[in-house]
Symmetry: C2
């Protein structure tokens, strides 16, 4: 018997909440289906498989980050804008741990890209590249104002991204907490260390 009309969005919505609260492996097609009230195989009429669903979430996450980044143009001074961008990134990683993992840590979404895309022009990852080029152009704005003399903007973008990514993943994975001498640190305390570290890094960058 036919239950109701289902849409891709409805499936993605449920998948999202399950993924974010229980993780990728713990979220099964059957769980998603039963929460919607449909048969498991119905999902395959809308998505080719689990990896396509997680890739859709990967894209949704980048949409979210993009929205967050759009407020940055309000900060006029380039170096201040770069710092604001860093804080944006950190906030995003803290507030959306699940999305961050899907976007930057999990291998499945990128694997999906490599396999699904037309095999001629090798996989694009447009979402990631767009975000990265936003960083590059901010850095180049800084250079126009006298910062980062004798550095290559692309290399610098790589360094800064790597730094932010490292901080965020160490925090989200719990290593930052474990490595600290103070026992029984609250999440807030750990996150404040993360943010402090970033401020120190900004100061470093200013004077290179």
């Amino acid at each position: 018997m036919k239950r109701k009309k289902i849409s891709k969005e409805e499936i993605l919505e449920v998948a999202k909440s399950l993924f974010l609260e229980q993780g990728y492996e713990a979220t099964s097609i059957r769980k998603i289906a039963s929460r919607i009230g449909i048969s498991p195989t119905t999902i395959y009429l809308y998505y080719k498989g689990k990896t396509e669903i997680v890739h859709a979430l990967h894209s949704a996450g980048f949409e979210l980050l993009k929205k967050k980044f759009e407020t940055l143009h309000l900060v006029e001074e380039p170096f201040e804008r770069l710092k604001a961008m860093g804080r944006c990134y950190i906030d995003f990683a803290i507030e959306n741990k699940g999305f961050y993992e899907i976007m930057f840590i999990m291998k499945e979404p990128l694997k999906y890209l490599k396999n699904s895309e037309k095999p001629s022009c090798d996989s694009e990852w447009e979402e990631g590249k767009t975000a990265f080029h936003a960083l590059i152009s901010t850095i180049e704005d800084c250079m126009d104002n006298g910062y980062f003399k004798h550095y290559d903007s692309h290399t610098l973008a790589l360094l800064i991204w790597a730094h932010m990514h490292g901080l965020c993943t160490l925090n989200n994975n719990g290593q930052l907490e474990l490595v600290n001498n103070k026992t029984d640190m609250t999440i807030q305390e750990t996150e404040s260390i993360l943010k402090q570290s970033f401020e120190v890094y900004s100061q470093m960058l200013k004077n290179i």
Copy 2:
């Protein structure tokens, strides 16, 4: 019928090769067992479960890194030693991608710690802390020689580790390759960018 006498080490050896060549999720207890030539449930007589096996590999990985770090005392000048440490870390991450993932990215080994350790003194992660303190003391040696004035050694260690970790994970996950404008980059080219980035970072650190 009884096949042969099995040891924990034998299981771990097979588990290691399977984990490293096929990944955590793709490696099943049954695959490990069949490669040894025993019944799947026999493994549970030696390890409590899959997470205990991956935790054992986690420890083996840290043992390996420790060995690599032990050669560092040959470098006398502190800042040069710090740089050598960085190169060591990068080399380890490149040459042992599987181990690196188990040690620093996967959540299971740390989850195992949190659950298994005596619940009074909250989980220790001795392996990671030891490596981190090696970094701290090298930084303090640098400080004694005039580097890093007005910085806190612990904070600096965090920053440097985060930076290295970020570079390595972005490389090992493929983002470094995807973000580059040059198409069809070889692994060697990507890794050389990684190492170059590190050299730039070292130069930055020298002058803060």
